[in-house]
Symmetry: C2
Subunit: 299 residues, 2 copies
């Protein structure tokens, strides 16, 4: 029941076919920790600039998130600006200002070092490894990545993979990393690189889990109200690791349940801009949709 | 237990990244009827040329398919030639020779008119309606279509839809037909056009069912051995309607089971060229994978 997340906090300016928002609170660690707070009391490590409003930190704390690892640095918070295409499956990045996140060198508060569950949100494999070095005896370590690191720091990534329990990546990233053209073969191939289990994220088409128990596939929950896909992947990760941490569980059956929780919570995330929708729902709403989803898949 | 299929029989010449085949037996009615023969004794209506070898007709009969509606006309059998791209999700049509299928005017043998289950494979809505006029008292009518008819015979298609129980179409065709950009909304919108249930086929990403019971989504069975995707959609349809016909069932639960059978049988089809893989398996193999798939989706 000690879940650590290290990742980004950002201000996102987003345009979608359904509207736009400026400077919404975002970043991998924001989505992950808010979602994980439905399951446990997450520990957050990240960096923000002096422009980061205290209300956001208050919001995190109100959700039971331990913000001792949230550092405020001189300068501005990470900013991202993007525009989604009509089908919401692809987007253009219009502007990135790394600001204080560009020199992020995460140091865990001493009382975070005994964390049993760890999520290394997307950042360079070197940073991810450095964080992992600071955790004394992790039980389940999960990491995310992106095409940038596969293209520029493949060696570091390949060194990190055997240290992971779970590795999350997008379908296209799995193809890029393995040179495969088929997702099933790519998933198996990524698992051979070291992680105990691999999760391929397919956006609106759901996700696939590759573990020693074989392949498990989940469709996305079919919400018709997609407003903003930003944060879906990190929300999914928060649901997966949050539910595993809450149950201190890692069997094949636990992983399947975790995948389902990840799917359901991500379906809420995309129903609003930024963290809006996650801020409206309770654990009861989450569980109700989980049961509906479970029933939907039973035949 | 009287399942009628009206559609094409063809010789397919196919290139995929895994190999090539010339003049393989194909066509919607071939795939559908061979799959449906795992569940019941299908009735086949179609047209072939004088070049159609008697062995193929023998093969159909050996599977319990009633070929009384298979007409041989002067001329050549429908031929299609295509090449799949590296990812197997898209293909180029290199050549089409409609031959005798170009003037196909299906007339049901008298003893086919009492068919209770009917599959109108992809052809013009006018032809599909004409077939349906000849069936006395159908219980479940399912039809497929393609982008060509949405673009060129939309009026005829819109007239046909209220006469259908089930309507199958690809994800891109559903977006084209409805003008929607979201598959969930598109599925609901297609259903409002008349059919009792709508099935959106998403290829390697599975399928979605829209019915009065709501939305049901199934992922594709994750076979790593994709050799040739040709016929997957018609195999899926054969599994769906075959299992409904065998059980004379149409409840929400029956439809879900039918979707699962369609998914599983299509996963066999794509493991070989043309009908090769379907020719190798037995109902026992199908049921074994069905149980595995069911277990895979249970959490």
């Amino acid at each position: 029941m000690s879940l650590l997340v290290v990742g980004s906090l950002a201000f996102d300016s987003i345009e979608t076919p359904n509207g736009k928002v400026d400077d919404a609170l975002g970043g991998s660690a924001s989505f992950f920790s808010v979602v994980a707070s439905f399951f446990t009391k997450p520990r957050l490590v990240g960096v923000v600039g002096q422009d980061f409003p205290p209300e956001h930190i208050q919001m995190f704390r109100a959700k039971g998130i331990d913000t001792s690892g949230l550092v405020t640095k001189e300068g501005k918070t990470f900013r991202w600006k993007g525009r989604y295409h009509q089908d919401m499956n692809s987007r253009d990045t219009l502007d990135v200002q790394l600001n204080v996140f560009g020199t992020f060198d995460p140091v865990l508060p001493k009382h975070f070092r005994d964390s049993r569950h760890v999520f290394l949100a997307n950042s360079s494999p070197a940073i991810q490894a450095k964080v992992l070095d600071q955790v004394e005896k992790p039980e389940i370590v999960m990491a995310d990545t992106m095409d940038l690191w596969i293209n520029t720091e493949k060696k570091g990534l390949l060194e990190l993979l055997p240290r992971l329990d779970g590795f999350l990546l997008n379908d296209s990233e799995a193809l890029l990393l393995t040179g495969e053209t088929n997702l099933v073969r790519a998933g198996h191939a990524v698992r051979k690189l070291g992680p105990k289990f691999v999760i391929l994220k397919k956006g609106e088409h759901g996700a696939m889990l590759f573990s020693e128990a074989g392949v498990f596939v989940v469709p996305a929950y079919p919400t018709p109200h997609i407003v903003d896909p930003t944060g879906a992947g990190d929300s999914f990760a928060g649901g997966v690791l949050g539910s595993l941490a809450a149950d201190s569980a890692s069997s094949a059956a636990d992983l399947k349940r975790a995948m389902a929780y990840g799917t359901v919570v991500a379906s809420f995330t995309v129903e609003g801009f930024g963290l809006d929708r996650l801020g409206e729902i309770t654990r009861k709403d989450l569980d109700a949709r989980y049961q509906e989803y479970r029933k939907m898949l039973t035949f």
